[in-house]
């Protein structure tokens, strides 16, 4: 029973990881840049949705408008910063995204302050009782929304003409340019989509655990996700996201208590700390040692 409970919680957070990691992979495929500001997009998205909710807008409107505004933020980032750095080294561009992360955190700090804010209820409160397991609507909604959007995005990418142009630009941007695809517009769209997905991810995280600047740390967890899934694989990001979410939940709920009990019986150690926060990075190191291209990645994809 505990295992099932943990699995459900893990799947819910995992789906949010997947949503945010998808955006990183999308930008990487299209422009070769690993976007360190993805966590900042999640955080900003959550604050913007919070702001809209406080204005008194209905939940669904706030979430949607929040995503649209985040898409604009992503597009502006690409137009104002990335497009001016077309000839710069990729590493320089990545450093700029790191700067953007710090900048956006400072902006949110200046506007909303350093304290954790209780996020308004955007989903109905309450829980369903499923064979003795209580699952709050919050978790269900987060899971359903994040999964639906991730899968919807994959379908868009695979089956529509805009998706086809995205794939072509990601596959070989010079070839795409030569056969008449407006590649910079495609890169713009990729940034807008990534930011919107991250914004929703941030809002969902805030609805589960409150709103704070710490939401931007999700960007750091997204990196193990994409390394495990493969830096250039969208499906890999999705699957690895779920995997990591479940692994974290099990570490917190089963491994940590058992390990602590064992350690107390043989030593003076009382606690192992937040072991679940270490797990993604342990997995990252293991993955880089055993299969550096990730589960679904193509050999030769660059590492960061």
């Amino acid at each position: 029973m505990l295992a099932l409970q943990l699995a459900i919680a893990g799947v819910a957070t995992g789906s949010i990881y997947a949503l945010i990691a998808l955006g990183i992979v999308l930008i990487y495929k299209c422009s070769g840049v690993v976007n360190f500001a993805q966590g900042a997009y999640a955080m900003l998205g959550a604050y913007i949705t919070y702001f809209l909710l406080r204005l008194g807008l209905p939940s669904i409107v706030s979430v949607l408008v929040g995503m649209v505004l985040m898409a604009l933020v992503g597009m502006v980032t690409e137009r104002l910063i990335l497009r001016r750095m077309l000839k710069a080294q990729i590493v320089s561009v990545m450093m700029v995204t790191l700067g953007l992360l710090i900048f956006l955190k400072a902006v949110c700090l200046a506007i909303w302050g350093p304290d954790q804010i209780a996020f308004p209820q955007i989903f109905p409160s309450g829980a369903i009782d499923f064979a003795g397991i209580f699952i709050t609507y919050n978790y269900i909604a987060a899971f359903v929304l994040a999964s639906a959007l991730s899968i919807g995005f994959l379908l868009f990418y695979r089956f529509t003409s805009l998706g086809l142009m995205q794939r072509c630009a990601a596959d070989n941007s010079r070839a795409a340019l030569a056969i008449g695809i407006h590649v910079s517009n495609q890169v713009s769209i990729a940034w807008a989509t990534s930011a919107a997905l991250a914004g929703l991810g941030g809002t969902l995280l805030a609805s589960l655990g409150g709103l704070s600047l710490g939401i931007s740390d999700i960007g750091l967890i997204a990196f193990p996700v994409i390394v495990v899934g493969g830096l250039d694989s969208l499906a890999g990001a999705l699957i690895a996201g779920f995997l990591l979410g479940i692994l974290e939940a099990f570490t917190e709920g089963i491994l940590t208590p058992n390990l602590e009990e064992f350690l107390r019986s043989v030593s003076n150690i009382q606690s192992v700390g937040a072991l679940q926060q270490v797990i993604p990075y342990a997995l990252l190191v293991l993955m880089l040692l055993l299969r550096p291209q990730g589960i679904f990645g193509r050999r030769g994809a660059e590492r960061v």
Binding site: T160, S161, M165, R167, D171, I179, G180
Partner: protein
Amino acid sequence: MTLVVTDLSIHFGGVIAVADMNLEVKPREIVGLIGPNGAGKTTFINCIAGVNEPDTGTATWNGREILGLSPAELLRIGVARTFQSVVSLHDLTVLDVVKLGAAAHAHNAQGFFEQLFRSDHGRDDELCETLLKPLNLVDVAYSPIQTLSYGQRKSVDLARALASEPALLYLDEPVAGLTYQEGMNMSAVIRSVRDRFGCSVIMVEHKMDVVNATCDRITVMAHGARIFEGTPAETQQDPEVRRVYLGEA
């Protein structure tokens, strides 16, 4: 529907690649562009296809200046091209690449939301029938490009260009690397394309048997400029052309 190129020149550093090149292509005409290696044929095509920006000269299509337009803008007004070295794309299938060509055409241009939500599989059968079948590509329609032979990739590149329903088509060495039989098949396809779409074609090619079989008129380039123009028969007879290009026996 006439292409008129006047006094087009481009240099790279100290090398003058194209020097005061002139060319006119009439409606529904297939013009062969031949010349020794380094004569500036591909560079000339690149200049009028939006890849290189020439130093001087003009090029008008239907009276409209086309120099300075990007490949994407050219496609929208019906100017398409194929490439000497085939485009390398890893993950896309043959049909995907053809659809990319089709999407560029104004008639098929969809609004942003249509592009975003509508499945792009609606025209699969039609594209297979009209474009892939004549080029013997139906069997590999759903294969990734990278699994195809060189000759097949050349055909895919042509199918992609044709999918944009061009009014003016540049073919850069369409049969290079193909067997004699494949080359002759390609020649027949090019002529039938012209007959069906009524488009004008410029074809850069070295294989003289294919050029003679395909083209209505031949322009010979040497050192970046036009040195001769005439029918295939006239071209073969001309002593100057024989000297610089075809080689005196």
